[in-house]
């Protein structure tokens, strides 16, 4: 379904061009969970962004081919690429605290996403959204769909994010560190959900992570990346069992938040505090502006 061949991504900069991804090939079949693992800065997110066509400027695809089914992703016009996003490829980001628009209710966000790609009425879209949330494990969805993102816990919020990525029935979902920001207990629930969705809906997943545990737990195939190049690729159990493989050398750091043992004010909660800009910070900015006057 997805075929990436010899993908090369470059970032032109002041001190020459930086090649973030070099000659990467991988393919994903429907219903397959393909792991993409590597240390921080290996180019994992860049590959995901290149596939969905959202590379941060000045980054650009310098070589290789990207095909989704029969569609040549590199030949799409910007309008065609945008219409394809959501409809055929979706993406899930690392941090559920910041992935949802804080000013819109969950149902507004779901309905808008569905209506962006399909010509359905709002009530029809809402019914579908509620069904989807129930399927994904949010109880009492008909009522909770009217809530705002901040009223959900981290794990529930990541489920909402998954629902948003799923509500348009894409063929491929790129999940960029979908569990890194979650507590360990919630992590495996979300991974189970991804596993189930891949099976029941035949969706291909590109699961980006730096965590070997996640790879071992749910991926079918894995591509190991280092310095923008493929080190190893193949069925997960084979790659993990190979005695000479370099995965043990991958540091676990990446600034990922620690587990629940890190105390009440670490990880997601802290992030939320930063995300929801309190009035105090705005006051501080005012002061800066006054000085500027």
């Amino acid at each position: 379904m997805l075929t990436v061949e010899n993908l090369t991504v470059q970032f032109p900069g002041r001190h020459g061009t930086f090649t973030a991804v070099e000659d990467v090939s991988l393919s994903i079949a429907p219903g397959e969970i393909h792991g993409l693992v590597g240390e921080s800065g290996a180019g994992k997110s860049t590959i995901g962004a290149a596939i969905i066509g959202l590379l941060q400027p000045p980054g650009f695809v310098a070589g290789g081919t990207l095909h989704l089914g029969d569609t040549d992703l590199r030949s799409l016009t910007p309008t065609q690429a945008h219409a394809m996003r959501g409809a055929r490829i979706s993406m899930i980001f690392q941090d559920p605290q910041t992935s949802l628009n804080p000013l819109m209710t969950i149902d507004d966000q779901l309905i808008e996403t569905i209506q962006a790609h399909e010509n359905v009425s709002s009530s029809e879209a809402r019914t579908r959204a509620v069904d989807l949330l129930e399927e994904i494990g949010i109880e009492n969805a008909a009522k909770r769909i009217k809530a705002y993102p901040h009223q959900f816990s981290g794990g529930m919020r990541q489920r909402v994010v998954i629902a948003l990525a799923l509500c348009t029935n894409p063929e491929l979902i790129i999940a960029d560190e979908p569990t890194t920001a979650l507590d360990v207990a919630v992590q495996s629930q979300v991974l189970d959900l991804i596993r189930r969705l891949a099976q029941t809906r035949d969706i291909g997943f590109l699961l980006i992570t730096h965590d070997i545990g996640v790879i071992a737990q749910i991926t079918d195939n894995v591509t190991v990346l280092r310095g923008g190049k493929v080190m190893e690729t193949g069925p997960t159990d084979k790659v993990l069992k190979a005695p000479e493989h370099p995965l043990h050398a991958i540091p676990d750091g990446c600034g990922a938040p620690a587990g629940p043992q890190a105390g009440p004010l670490s990880g997601p909660r802290q992030r939320q505090a930063r995300h929801c800009r309190p009035r105090r910070e705005i006051r501080r900015r005012c002061r800066g502006l006054a000085a500027w006057r």
């Binding site: 996003r85 979706s90 980001f93 910041t98 962006a116 009035r279 502006l289």
Partner: protein
């Protein structure tokens, strides 16, 4: 939320008390009220009797209490200069200043927000560079220079618009408005632009900075990855989030617009509170100066409260947290 509003109310009361104290000190200790009220021919005994009658020998706290409660009852004392009640003098000037400030604010919003959004979405465009250059000039030129330049160009050279006063006004039960006559509108244009320029550039730069930050946020990236149409992405998702901090600062600035309309009012001889304040400084008319301070402070407090409520209305995270 109730707690939030209550806290604001209490804070506001303290702010008002502090300003009232300032106004009172001004009145009581800058110059001698008795010698201001009486002439040279008044005998010392008469002066002392007046001092006693007016309670100026009472303890400080008692005097301040009386001053504050008088104000609360709407008794603002009398002007040294005109012998009229200060309350009436200020009240008759409020419409001119408020209308000027509101039109200036509207100009700044109507021009500032769209150009802020435009320059944020096309950061490298030629139009963007031109707008940014223009506003940089706008920020760095003092208000009175802008006013004089406008007068020179549109008033003197082209002769299109009047350069002083309010033109035609209509009295609506004590509120004199410029909004109902063509003449009034024509007189309003130049001073409103002068007063609005700074606010406009501030609004534009603020909207631009916030918008660019929001466009880089995860939820905009996620919405883009879901193929949400660009129009909704920019105006529904991004702009709404941009407005949360922008409203706060624009609101606070509006207090400043009213307070600093003094300069514009004097350039255009606009008969508002600012001009009255300048006149009262020239004649050391301390009661008028004091009440002006209190009124402006009250206005700041009101705007602050309005901004808080608006902020609550926009941002659901600040409302009561009921579990979902």
């Amino acid at each position: 939320m109730a707690y939030f509003i209550l806290k604001r109310l209490v804070q506001s009361v303290f702010v008002m008390l502090a300003v009232a104290f300032l106004a009172f000190s001004l009145f009581r200790f800058v110059g001698d009220p008795i010698s201001q009220m009486t002439g040279v021919e008044t005998s010392v005994q008469d002066q002392d009797r007046l001092r006693e009658e007016l309670g100026l020998n009472d303890p400080f706290v008692v005097q301040f209490y009386r001053f504050t409660t008088d104000m609360l009852r709407g008794d603002f004392g009398f002007s040294y200069r005109t012998r009229q009640p200060v309350g009436d003098m200020i009240a008759s000037r409020i419409p001119a200043t408020l209308e000027l400030g509101i039109v200036a604010l509207l100009i700044s919003l109507i021009v500032g927000i769209p150009s802020g959004v435009y320059t944020a979405l096309r950061p490298r465009g030629i139009a963007t560079q031109a707008i940014l250059m223009t506003t940089l000039v706008g920020v760095s030129i003092p208000t009175f220079v802008i006013g004089i330049a406008l007068i020179f160009l549109f008033g003197v050279q082209l002769g299109w618009l009047p350069t002083f006063g309010r033109g035609g006004t209509v009295d609506l039960g004590g509120w004199t408005t410029s909004f109902l006559t063509v003449d009034g509108w024509r007189a309003l244009i130049l001073p409103a632009i002068t007063l609005g320029v700074y606010q406009l550039t501030l609004t534009m730069r603020l909207v631009r900075a916030e918008m660019m930050e929001v466009m880089r946020s995860d939820y905009i990236r996620f919405a883009t990855a879901r193929g949400i149409p660009y129009r909704s992405l920019h105006y529904r998702h991004a702009l709404a989030n941009t407005m949360v901090p922008v409203i706060t600062i624009i609101g606070l600035q509006f207090g400043g617009v009213i307070a600093f309309s003094i300069v514009t009012e004097s350039v255009f001889q606009w008969p508002g509170m600012g001009l009255l304040f300048l006149e009262s400084i020239r004649f050391v008319d301390i009661p008028v100066m004091g009440v002006y301070l209190v009124v402006i402070a009250f206005f700041f407090v009101l705007v602050n409260m309005a901004v808080d409520l608006l902020y609550l209305a926009i941002d659901p995270r600040l409302r009561v947290k009921e579990a979902a």
